[in-house]
Symmetry: C2
Subunit: 258 residues, 2 copies
DNA sequence: CGGTCAATTGATCAGTGTCAAGGCAGGTGG
DNA sequence: CCACCTGCCTTGACACTGATCAATTGACCG
């Protein structure tokens, strides 16, 4: 299924332009990128360990995640991706996967051929900078994950996760008013936080009983912004969000970008 | 202190060429990069949280590391860098640091102005690819760190750390014969593994008493390769090392690159 | 020859994992 | 339309890994 509809690529463009400057021609070139749409059910592998994909995928709908397996089958989820993200841009220059990319919920993805992207980054320095930068923000989220797993308690990690997922969705225009979708199971959240589902459940109970959040029916409601941020020791710098951000979660006027 | 000596940049070139193809002109352009040498004592900050450096630094001698601080002052070391590494290439396109880069041991670094690198990546696609790729391998190491902290036991992390540091040094021509330098304290190793120094010490004791490694006077000796790899559940894929690698640690003929 | 910092060890404690059981909700088939 | 099934959530009891506190030893240095 091929399409010339520019609205798909506008999602990508939107994400890039929140943190990078592009010229008119850059925009046009990005909007003209060829792509193919594919749909996935919940929990289906998209690209697996060892593969060398020839496409990058843009998440149009649903949540996607990357995970690795250690030894006897323990899964560690590395990162979740939401609509607007291009989770595998990195494989343009690091072809072989050392982990697996998979859907979490039922998802719709646009696959963009590597060839088209190579042409773009070689001819358009600002597009190169924007894409490179996007892969670096990805890296930055991993670093924060390392901080979480290394130094935050179970409840701190849980709070941090909600801060991150709310803010990322808010930036993408998918959330607001301290309420957002968390369309995954507690087992999956536990797998990204490096704790057991049982223990995550207890952390959730603690946050709920203190009236910090409510998590119900796949939706998160942040009841006490300040308490959540404090519990998470959340510093949004690592998301490199753009200076003009207006957020219901973060009120500081700090310049976050670049 | 400025220099036209090409031997400094050859270190950088060597690292890039182990995993990327470059043409003759690319090589010449890299060797012609301007730089300034600076020396640091042990444990001095190089670029700090919030800074926007105008240089990338190439480690010529000594170990360097990146760390973040959470809330009340808990330090988490994110990654160690060894001679030949360019730890902050990423700040070309993500200028503001969300963590701190610092020396561990006394170190010598070459500072390359961002301006010179921008010119290079815009004009030389293969250099762009090589540098981008280098930042992506950095990312890959963070991913593995997440796996470690999320899923490996204390002793597994310890073994994994030794595998990684030995192999990286071997690749850089700084180690061989299952012996390498580990010029840092147990406290620093503990800080990267997300455990306490006391507990790291016990893990070390376990590895030592099982005759797996010896760590002494700043040197690591791997006594039982197979046991170390097994304890670490070490899979070197994430280092994307290059297919022609010959290692004293890893004997598989697996094609690891790309 | 103290002084300082790192390594080592022991004792105890807290946080998280493991095991097990029950509850709840949504989906399916009779 | 109801009964059952399945997957997820929730809770309790207990075990274990790793943290904390504290003291000792050892190595290097001025």
């Amino acid at each position: 299924m091929k399409s010339d509809d520019t609205s798909v690529m506008e999602m990508f463009l939107g994400k890039l332009e929140r943190v990078s400057d592009l010229g008119e021609e850059d925009r046009a070139a990005l909007l003209a990128l060829p792509y193919t749409i594919r749909r996935f059910g919940a929990r289906e592998d998209i690209f697996s360990y060892g593969e060398k994909p020839a496409y990058c995928c843009l998440v149009l709908d649903g949540w996607v995640h990357r995970y690795g397996i250690i030894g006897d089958g323990d899964r560690q989820i590395l990162l979740f991706y939401i609509p607007g993200d291009v989770p595998d841009l990195q494989h343009l220059f690091l072809p072989m996967l050392d982990h697996t990319l998979a859907s979490i919920t039922a998802s719709t993805l646009a696959f963009i051929p590597h060839r088209a992207l190579y042409g773009l980054v070689e001819r358009r320095p600002r597009v190169m900078a924007a894409l490179w930068r996007d892969t670096l923000i990805d890296t930055s989220m991993y670093r924060e994950r390392v901080m979480c797993l290394g130094r935050r308690s179970s409840i701190g990690r849980t709070a941090h996760f909600f801060c991150e997922m709310y803010l990322r969705q808010e930036l993408a225009g998918l959330a607001g008013d301290l309420r957002c979708s968390i369309p995954i199971t507690q087992g999956e959240i536990a797998d990204v936080l490096g704790i057991t589902p049982v223990h995550l459940n207890r952390s959730l109970r603690a946050l709920r009983s203190r009236q910090v959040i409510d998590l119900n029916g796949g939706y998160l409601t942040i009841l006490d912004r300040a308490a959540l941020i404090k519990t998470a020791e959340f510093d949004p710098t690592y998301l490199h969000m753009g200076a003009d951000l207006k957020s219901d979660l973060i009120s500081t006027r700090k310049v976050l970008v670049s």
